[in-house]
Each structure stands twice: as C-alpha cells, then as structure tokens.
Subunit: 184 residues, 2 copies
Amino acid sequence: MTSDASPRDRLLDTASDLFYREGIHTVGVDRLVTEAKVTRATFYRHFPAKEDLVVAYLRATDQRLRGAVARMVETTPAGEALPAVLEFVGESACASGFRGCHFINAAAEYPDPEHIVRNAVDEHRGWFRDAMAELATRAGHPDPGYAAAVLVLLHDGALQGAELDDPEQVRRTLLRAGRDLLGI
Amino acid sequence: MTSDASPRDRLLDTASDLFYREGIHTVGVDRLVTEAKVTRATFYRHFPAKEDLVVAYLRATDQRLRGAVARMVETTPAGEALPAVLEFVGESACASGFRGCHFINAAAEYPDPEHIVRNAVDEHRGWFRDAMAELATRAGHPDPGYAAAVLVLLHDGALQGAELDDPEQVRRTLLRAGRDLLGI
DNA sequence: GCACGGCGGGAACGAACGTTCTGTCTATAA
DNA sequence: TTATAGACAGAACGTTCGTTCCCGCCGTGC
C-alpha cells in the first residue's frame, strides 16, 4: 500500500505514476497532493518546487532501470547480454500501461537543454550508452561503440514506436533488427 | 515576411515555430496572438480552440513532409529510394534548430490516444509507414513490410536521439545501420 | 513535562491559463 | 451608398497554475 508509506514516498510514487501516465505539465500540484493524500505544505517541505519532484521522479526511474540492467547482467552470460537487453526492451514496450520512454517524454516537455530536468535525462542516457558499450565489449563485439549506438537507436525507436503503433510488431522488428545488426 | 500574410497564416506560422521550439503546453494563447500580431478574437474566429490550432500545426507539418518525400521519390531512381530516405532523415536530424520529431513530441504532451491531436499523429505515422512500404516494394526489397518497420524504427530512434545526444554520431549510426539492415 | 519538528487542514497569493465579450474601424461587395 | 464581414483593441470571464502562509494536532526525544 502506498497509504502507509512516508509522505515523501507517497508523493514520489503518485508523481511517478501520474507524470508518466498523463504527462508532467498536465498534472498540477493539486492533483499530486490530493492523490498522494498529502498537504501542499508537506509537498513544499520535501521539494523546493514542482520541478524538483520531476527530477526526483526521473532519478528514481533511472535507479530502477540501472537495477534491472545490473540484475540482468548478473544472470546472463557475457555473450548473451546484448540480446537479453533487446528482449528486456521489447518486453517493456509491450507491457500494459506502457507509455513510451520516461526520459524522452520528459525531454519533450522541457525544450531547454540546460534545464535541470534535461540534466537528469542526459545523465540517464549517458549511463545507458556506457553500460551498453561495456556489455558489448565484454561480449567480444568488434566495435563496441557502434554496438552501443545501435542499441540506443533501437531502444529509442522501439519505445516510442510501441507507444504510437502496434507494440507487438515493434517488438518483433526490434529483435530481428537487433540480431541482424549485432551479429547475434 | 510573415507580417503581411493573412492572420490565419501568421497564426499558423508562429504556432508551428513556437509549438515545435518550446512545446505546446508551455506556449499560451497570449504568446501566440502577441507574436502573430493578431487579436484573441481573430484567433478564435479561425480556430474553435487552441487544440484545433495544434492539429492544424501538425497537419501542415505532415503536408510539408509528404511533399518532401514525394519530391525525393521523383528525383531518385527506385533502387535508391530507401537510402535516400535515410539520408534525408539524417540531414534533418542534424539541421540547426532541430528539436526532435514534431509528432512524437506532440504525442508526449497528449497521452490520451483518442485525442484529436493523437489522431493527427496517427495519420502521419500511418502515411509514413505505408509510403516506406511502397518504396521498399518498388525497390524490389524481399520483405517490404519488414523494411518499412525498420525504417520507422530507425527514423524514430534517430530523430529523438539526435535531439538528446550528438546529432552527427546519430546520423552516422543511422546510415550504417540502415545500410546493414536493408541490404544496400 | 515540555519543546520541537513533521504533518494535516485550509485559506490565500499573484500570475497565467483558455475563452468570451463589447465595441470600433476598414475594406470589400451588393 | 450602404450592408457585411473580418480584423483591430482591450477588458473581463472563471479556472487553474505554482507557491506561501497560518494554525492546530500529535508523536518523539530531551
């Protein structure tokens, strides 16, 4: 239950849910405090402003994804890590309630590249690219930089495509294209 | 000059510019009528509501892209149409002022798939996929459906990646991956 | 026992939102 | 010449925005 968590956690949980499902600008502070069962005063006691909650939401999502990838890496042999990532992306894209990439969606609402929200987006993307490059290296891929760039490209395209078109078809295309490109 | 165009055209031009550069929700009607040098009454005489202007903006963008693709198809032999599309996408992504895909960005701000804005997005994406499938067919590609799906995937990934990462690197990755995947 | 900090309830702030209105001016068409 | 329609100017609508404040309650630690 979220109702017996701390006010800060309730806030972050409902923000994560609402920001992702309905967008950031369209979800007001009213909505947030009402659904989190928290008062405005409590909101501003934990977050200096709404955009700080947005950053916290992205950072929490980032941490969740880092954990998922780390767990995946631990449980799959080095040679199968890249296809495993593709499977993971494909499954995420087909999950119910999927609404595209958290970070791409957030960036679309914050055009200024210097904004703190964009900083959070950049950090996540930097980590993902580096993580993919390292996986490719460990898998013995001849060109890890290219492999990472390809994985980022396919990742982004698949996540946005799955939201806007048929997720299952996108998933199939992603897997087939990934295997073709990465030589696996 | 936009200042001697009709009020409706001025409105659509400034809306296209502002919506793309700064986002849709963040640009208010105040901003629009001020920069278009048009009064509120004139605004609402031409568009029942702001979201109708958003739809008009997307439809105008859609028409521009259809024209660009049609022109490209006319001037390139059938066999080279697919790489030409990739070049076009890559160049667009590296153009100054590029801010990602108009339609993906708009969809990120309108989560409801039944919204009229999303309808405009769906129409554009449907056209693009069909156009790519037809190009692939005419180029003699053995699996036009897959080729079209791949082009959509790479297109989406490249456009969002170029906005968030290094556009030149994304362009190179796009071209190389496209050539590898489409056998060209 | 008492001070203190976290939280709930709720009013209030100024600003901006999308939208509607009244009224005046001017160009075009009957 | 007059009627009409479109664009102008600008005030105003009610609502919502993000943010701040005051007050009373209650649990914990000194």
